[in-house]
């Protein structure tokens, strides 16, 4: 083989050959705007502005969904067999109790002003949530903002007959393309009370477009009716594994301290026209000290070993209505074009959060530590079965940064200093940084190690017939 030293020149040339293409500046600006807008909704989602009743409804909805997964997950339970038939899946809504009173728009509503058409084409009213979709078409390219400050700042809301309003509640999906003449958006509002059969969707301005570039103050009178008999809902099915080919290897590094701790299962399948959605979970042994685990690296292959793409793979641990259970949900969708043979899910790495008890160290920062001052501690610390190496602590502007040299499997090391509440914490694979809003702790400091993020390699295969 050619020595790598001989390849310096060709590597530089290949690199240069790749550097000639740069994204168009207007495309970059538009995408930047979309990100700003989507970020705003993401933040709104994390702190929803709806009422206590709305939050309660959401909680109940989450519990319904969680119960569906929780109970259906255990195929040996007679209770499960009874419960399984009680749920169905509705696109845009999720898993709901079968027979739940669902309503929809009497008909889609559209309005055209100054050449721009806004269509409210779907709204589903469940006891828990109100997802809806609208489309905007006829958009001139000039209506797109060049920066976030120019963009329409206020999302739509639903005005009820009694004057109260339902605001954005999250779970939006965006289908937006740079400077396209049309786009569609999905939003979710809090639940509409069952006695309310009409409301007004208010759109102060058209999201995604430049303020003033499109008509403002849109109002769409909506009325609701029970869903029709043809309304598409899909039954929730149990995933049948292939006993002959299942290799139920526990997921963990073979010789690691957590060998056999984690298991993965697929439990539910929801068939839709455009593909199948699978729900499952990563579980860990009770009392193992873990609080979360998710697939970090995985592949789905067909019978011939060809990779099958998943449409989405949500392992978001924030969705976790039961505080103490020992699993995280897994969800992904396989497009309908997938072959009909057996499929194999292979997980090769998980990220797990391990709680650590009773591990601490001390250092003396002195009465008046200066910014930039560094304490070289060069200390080995055993935590969670791993030997961490603390190199140094540095006083930064509003706190301290701890530099580690840790085993490859260890990611963030979560600390606390003198049990003092910090304003902001950051961490990476080899550092942890805390900043304080008020006084920075000084003097003799006791630092506790609370949690470790672990990236655990292993192999776990699950084969089933789709």
């Amino acid at each position: 083989m050619t020595d790598s030293h001989d390849l310096n020149d060709i590597e530089s040339k290949v690199f240069d050959s790749y550097q000639v293409e740069t994204p168009d500046s207007s495309f970059a600006n538009t995408l930047r705007h979309h990100i700003v807008e989507a970020s705003a909704h993401t933040r709104t989602r994390s702190t929803p502005r709806f009422s206590l009743a709305g939050r309660l409804a959401l909680a109940i909805g989450s519990c319904v969904l969680a119960l569906a997964i929780l109970f259906i997950a255990n195929p040996k339970s007679n209770l499960v067999l009874g419960m399984r038939q009680l749920f169905s899946f509705i696109p845009g809504v999720g898993i709901v109790e079968e027979g739940a009173p669902l309503r929809q728009l009497t008909e889609p509503v559209a309005e055209t002003r100054a050449g721009i058409t806004v269509t409210v084409d779907q709204m589903i009213l469940s006891p828990d949530l109100t997802p809806f979709q609208f489309q905007v078409s006829g958009i001139p390219e000039t209506a797109y903002p060049q920066n976030a400050a120019e963009a329409c700042p206020e999302p739509p809301y639903l005005l009820l007959p009694d004057g109260s309003r339902l605001d954005y509640a999250g779970f939006n999906a965006i289908s937006a393309y740079a400077n396209a003449p049309s786009y569609s958006k999905q939003f979710t509002l809090a639940a509409v009370p069952p006695e309310v059969d009409n409301a007004t969707l208010v759109m102060p301005c058209v999201l995604g477009l430049k303020t003033g570039a499109a008509p403002e103050g849109w109002e769409f009178p909506l009325s609701f009716v029970p869903v029709s008999a043809e309304f598409v809902s899909s039954p929730v099915e149990e995933v049948e594994s292939q006993p002959a080919t299942v290799a139920e290897t526990a997921l963990a590094k073979p010789q690691g301290p957590f060998d056999g701790v984690f298991t993965l299962s697929l439990d539910q399948k929801i068939s839709q026209e455009d593909g199948d959605i699978y729900f499952g979970k990563i579980s860990w042994q009770d009392n193992s000290g873990f609080s979360t685990a998710m697939m970090e690296s995985f592949d789905l292959t067909d019978a011939e070993g060809n990779r099958v793409m998943t449409d989405f793979a949500s392992t978001d641990p924030s969705w976790n209505p039961f505080e103490a259970h020992s699993y995280n949900p897994v969800a992904f969708k396989i497009p309908a074009t997938t072959t009909s043979g057996p499929l194999t899910l292979t997980v090769t790495r998980i990220m797990a959060n391990l709680h650590v008890d009773g591990v601490s160290f001390s250092f003396d920062a002195g009465p008046n530590p200066q910014i930039g001052q560094q304490w070289v501690l060069d200390k080995d610390i055993t935590a969670g079965g791993y030997q961490l190496h603390l190199i140094s602590v540095t006083r930064i502007s509003n706190g301290y940064e701890f530099a580690f040299e840790n085993p490859e499997e260890v990611g963030c090391v979560d600390l606390s200093i003198n049990d003092t509440q910090y304003a902001q914490g950051r961490c990476g694979s080899n550092y942890t940084r805390y900043e304080y809003a008020g006084d920075v702790p000084t003097g003799e400091l006791t630092v506790k190690i609370n949690n470790l993020d672990l990236h655990l390699d292993g192999t776990w295969e699950y084969t089933w017939m789709p």
Partner: protein, 186 residues
């Protein structure tokens, strides 16, 4: 070791600092990651799909997907690998859905930079043409290395392969490319 280090555009630790800030409702931090990775992601996707419009569409999808799934990123200095796994999957989805593959030479000429004016650019064109004839899996390696500007460790994460294996495969391709380029001049 190469004497001339590649001008890699990112560093895992700094990415994690930005990612941690972005998770604390600081959209400016995600925008900083966007600014940092826009060009590598776009270049990578342009190389994969071969035309500007689809590269722009896929780039949009990559960043909006990354934003939606941002809570799943858990640090470890692997943001680039995480982001380019999304980008690579999007490009695979693109070909799976459209069931087509666009060779680089079919790119609309008016949307591409004129590379014929200088010798260096002519050489760049030759390199691109040679790479365009390589099998998809070989192009994937070169695209991740030179368009996405990834380290071998990051490539190994995206491709689920051993880092040394990836490194050897890239060197082997570079050696092949070097020979082919020299043969073109002979």
């Amino acid at each position: 070791m190469f004497s001339k280090p590649l001008p890699l555009a990112h560093s895992g630790l700094e990415d994690d600092r930005l990612a941690a800030e972005a998770k604390k409702d600081r959209p400016g931090a995600f925008l900083a990651l966007y600014e940092r990775y826009l060009t590598p992601v776009y270049r990578y996707l342009l190389r994969r799909v071969g035309d500007v419009k689809n590269a722009e569409d896929l780039t949009t999808q990559v960043f909006l997907t990354a934003l939606e799934r941002f809570s799943q990123y858990r640090g470890g200095g692997k943001f680039a690998a995480w982001l380019f796994t999304i980008a690579r999957n999007k490009s695979i989805d693109f070909f799976r859905t459209s069931r087509r593959e666009i060779p680089l030479e079919s790119c609309p000429p008016h949307r591409m930079i004129d590379e014929d004016r200088t010798f260096a650019r002519d050489e760049a064109r030759q390199i691109k043409d040679l790479i365009a004839k390589y099998p998809p899996e070989d192009r994937d390696l070169l695209d991740l290395r030179f368009a996405a500007e990834m380290t071998f460790a990051e490539m190994a994460q995206v491709l689920h392969r051993n880092e040394n294996t990836v490194k050897k495969q890239v060197y082997r391709l570079l050696a092949r490319l070097k020979n082919e380029l020299e043969n073109n001049y002979d």
